[in-house]
């Protein structure tokens, strides 16, 4: 990692955080009026929006309808100006398709799809500014949007990334840390049960260190859950005040 010290001797990272410290998370539910559910999240400089439509009738060909559960449809797209270098296409490229698929798998694990047979739930995630931890931000914002839409879920889906530098696991990697090329692990957790909804690791990492990194990511995801839970509770409180209950 030429010339860039990701973790100083004193234990500080490039942006001044400690190894297991998260970036600041700010979120808001119900940002759009027309969608069934919507949410916005800022994790450090990463900003993402999610919109949920449904459950509704299957759009397009009826043959896609599942007789026993709802179809979860996810689309990931990232604004052309979101990255440092301008992107040519907002969606439809390989990475976006993969992200869409992973989101879908994570949410099929969490949404009680059997309650809505022969229907469809659309989750659209849009990244407005990318600064590392995109997958985690997308999962977190989509969770809030699904909750805002009032779709029954087993649990929150909370995600966080983790890396490994100089024998230490780092939680919630920023873009600089991701670009340095070390191992990185993305983890989506159902915090109440501790079940893992998604696990993905890039680059190489010795087996002995895996547990440490996994533990760091899981702890970070639980921390994210605390923040998201507070956001949801605050939103419900605000909404109930508005309704006059």
């Amino acid at each position: 990692m030429a010339g860039l010290e990701l973790l100083s001797d004193q234990g500080y990272r490039v942006d001044g955080r400690r190894a297991r410290e998260l970036r600041k998370i700010q979120a808001r539910m119900g940002v759009f009026a027309q969608a069934d559910g919507s949410a916005y999240i800022e994790q450090g400089n990463t900003k993402a929006l999610a919109v949920v439509y449904g459950p509704h009738e299957i759009r397009g060909s009826r043959s896609r309808a599942l007789p026993d559960r709802a179809l979860v449809n996810c689309q990931y797209s990232s604004a052309t100006f979101s990255t440092g270098e301008r992107k040519r296409r907002p969606h439809g490229d390989r990475k976006s398709c993969e992200m869409g698929l992973q989101l879908r798998q994570a949410f099929e694990a969490a949404i009680l799809t059997q309650l809505h047979p022969r229907s469809q739930i659309d989750i659209y995630v849009q990244v407005l500014q990318a600064d590392g931890g995109i997958y985690a931000a997308c999962v977190n914002v989509a969770t809030l949007a699904v909750l805002d839409a009032g779709i029954p879920m087993r649990d929150f889906v909370c995600a966080c990334s983790a890396g490994f530098v100089d024998g230490t696991a780092l939680a919630d990697l920023s873009h600089v840390e991701e670009a340095a090329g070390g191992p990185q692990l993305a983890l989506a957790l159902l915090p109440a049960s501790g079940q893992i909804a998604l696990l993905e690791m890039d680059a190489r990492l010795h087996e002995d260190h895996l547990e440490q990194v996994l533990e760091a990511a899981a702890q970070a995801a639980r921390d994210v859950h605390t923040v998201l839970d507070r956001v949801v509770r605050q939103h419900v409180q605000e909404a109930s005040i508005l309704l006059g209950d």
Partner: protein, 350 residues
Amino acid sequence: MSLATRTEFLDDSGCGCCPQEDLRVDGRGCEDYRCVEVETDVVSNTSGSARVKLGHTDILVGVKAEMGTPKLEKPNEGYLEFFVDCSANATPEFEGRGGDELGTEIANTLYRIFNNKGSIDLKSLCISPREHCWILYVDVLLLECGGNLFDAISIAVKAALFNTRIPRVRVLEDEEGSKDIELSDDPYDCIQLNVENVPCIVTLCKIGYRHVVDATLQEEACSLASLLVAVTSKGVVTCMRKVGKGSLDPESIFEMMEVRLVLRQVLGPGWECLLLPAPQSCCGHSPHLPPSPQAWSLESSWCELDVSELAKGAGRERGGLRDRDLPPAHNSCLSSASLIPGSMFLKENA
């Protein structure tokens, strides 16, 4: 046809409004805009960005300046590239490739309204003739559709261009004739674009025998056809288009252009003072102070402007173009609030 039947016909048109009596379903008059919110400097990794909210329509525009080679036919000018992303966030119909058609249509309209020498000084984007120039990628992202897309997009594009800061570069030439480009060290040493002549679009929707500005989705659905006029604050029309499936009488086109003249008076100066940095601009005392780039880069501004109030104010000043009086509650038509930069979705919804 008697007047009574005409009115009935209009009432049956489906939107439940009665433009004949200058009263629309949401209580606005035919020439009233909804409240516009403009926020600049929202995405930090762009050269300039803006978010505009017009009723339920929500637009985010990012401008990225990249270095490239000038076009062959215009060797000493830079150029603008437009791209409109109709994301599935706006409506599920835009999923996959569904939004491409509308996106291309809007992008082409933007190309057309900027296709003249006056709109923007493209020569200032040239670094060295025939070799290097700045290309401004203007990327529009539709976050929510609530009618009147074109007007909202043009406002957002103008605000984003106003917010654009392009780093100043120098071309150094050594004895052998090889050129080297040097970027300024000072992050505040940048060029700003003059957006005074950047046009805004005013869309006039024909409903029955009247036309309305700033139509909502429902009003657009029962409009036969609409006229789209791009006009600068000086009153220069840079583009005109008829959109929609219906047809328009030439008479009514001229009638619509009249309304546009009134609105231009309103929109032009209104936007300019809106785009100046907060808080001086928004108090209305000195709306033409030159913006200081430092203040801008450190603090984003968020302003709210009720154009219809401005319209009424302007009407009064110009000798009673409209006979309705300004409501006493609205002493100031501009209000402002300072926010943490880029906190766009985190503030309370009004």
